[in-house]
């Protein structure tokens, strides 16, 4: 909080925002500033709350999803609870998912899941953070359900024709989490070391979990 004094006679929140890296140039950037200032002046939102919410965004990351997957790989009881009731299972690891139904699906040697939202940009933010720009792009949303093999190839992911690629379109109240297949050669690894193999894209299904260090 700033410590300088103001001579305003009203009691709005004086939390200051860092200046923009560049001045707004587009109409919608001005609109953001205008709506925010009005909402704060009218005490509908406070600057403090907005700043806290922005911090909360930064704390959410795919690392939470990776921890969930690593636990599922190591603990079969947890894996089964995750597949049966993902909201409760991830809560065991301290991740609270509110207001949406989290559904975990498992990739195997014969079945590969890949998630999209063709209608908007539904994504398990509580577990994976804010979606990457490509997930929200018109190109991914248009093509994933019709050209999944071509889309996967653009992510460098090639799967044999014997594997069923199952594209999950998030059209409703459920958010889908992919549990990637556990890579070969990871038998002795700790849960932390396993989590490091689970990248964001493998939790969406456009990539596989990484091979352990030293493996091709």
């Amino acid at each position: 909080m700033s410590t300088h004094t103001h001579d305003h006679d009203h009691d709005h929140d004086h939390t200051t925002f860092q200046p923009d890296i560049k001045d707004p140039s587009q109409e919608w950037e001005f609109l953001e500033i205008a709506l925010r200032e009005l909402l704060i002046e009218k005490q509908i939102l406070s600057a403090r709350e907005i700043a806290d919410e922005m911090e909360a965004w930064e704390r959410k990351s795919p690392e939470a999803g990776a921890r969930v997957v690593a636990r599922a790989w190591c603990d079969d009881g947890f894996r089964q609870r995750l597949l049966a009731d993902a909201n409760s299972a991830v809560a065991e690891l301290g991740v609270e998912i509110e207001s949406v139904e989290l559904i975990a699906v498992e990739n195997t040697a014969d079945l590969h899941h890949m998630v999209v939202c063709t209608l908007c940009s539904c994504y398990p933010r509580g577990l994976l953070g804010v979606p990457p720009l490509w997930y929200k792009s018109f190109e991914y949303r248009s093509r994933a359900v019709r050209e999944p093999r071509a889309v996967l190839a653009e992510f460098g992911t090639e799967l044999a024709d014997s594997v069923e690629v199952r594209v999950l379109d998030s059209t409703a109240d459920c958010r889908h989490l992919v549990i990637p297949a556990r890579p070969a050669g990871t038998e002795g690894l700790s849960e932390d070391a396993l989590a490091a193999l689970v990248g964001r894209d493998s939790l969406i299904g456009t990539a596989l979990a990484r091979a352990p260090h030293g493996e091709a």
Binding site: T118, V145, E147, P148, R149, E164
Partner: protein, 94 residues
């Protein structure tokens, strides 16, 4: 009791109502199989207009073969599939 059972074959309505709906065009009129019943959820077609979403609707994950949806016009392998989460009001038994 839910109207559809897991494994049951269903058809997505080929309706074209105005307003906010959550059934994508590419699946309308297509046949699939119920993969999962998620339970009942508020009706988004009512929630979208400030109503309370009642009565709640059963929501199903329905599995379609890519061939059923695209008839060969896509980049997929013969075994590939697509699912969507569809409210009961859009489904009929076949």
């Amino acid at each position: 009791m839910s109207r559809f059972a897991v494994g049951q074959r269903v058809r997505v309505a080929e309706a074209q109502p105005p307003g906010h709906v959550r059934t994508p065009q590419f699946l309308r009129g297509r046949d699939g199989v119920v993969l999962r019943h998620f339970g009942a959820f508020p009706n988004p077609e009512r929630l979208a207009y400030g109503m309370d979403g009642r009565p709640a609707l059963d929501l199903y994950q329905v599995l379609f073969t890519m061939d059923e949806v695209w008839a060969g016009e896509g980049a997929y392998a013969p075994r590939d599939t697509v699912t969507a989460d569809i409210y009961e009001s859009w489904l009929e038994a076949i």
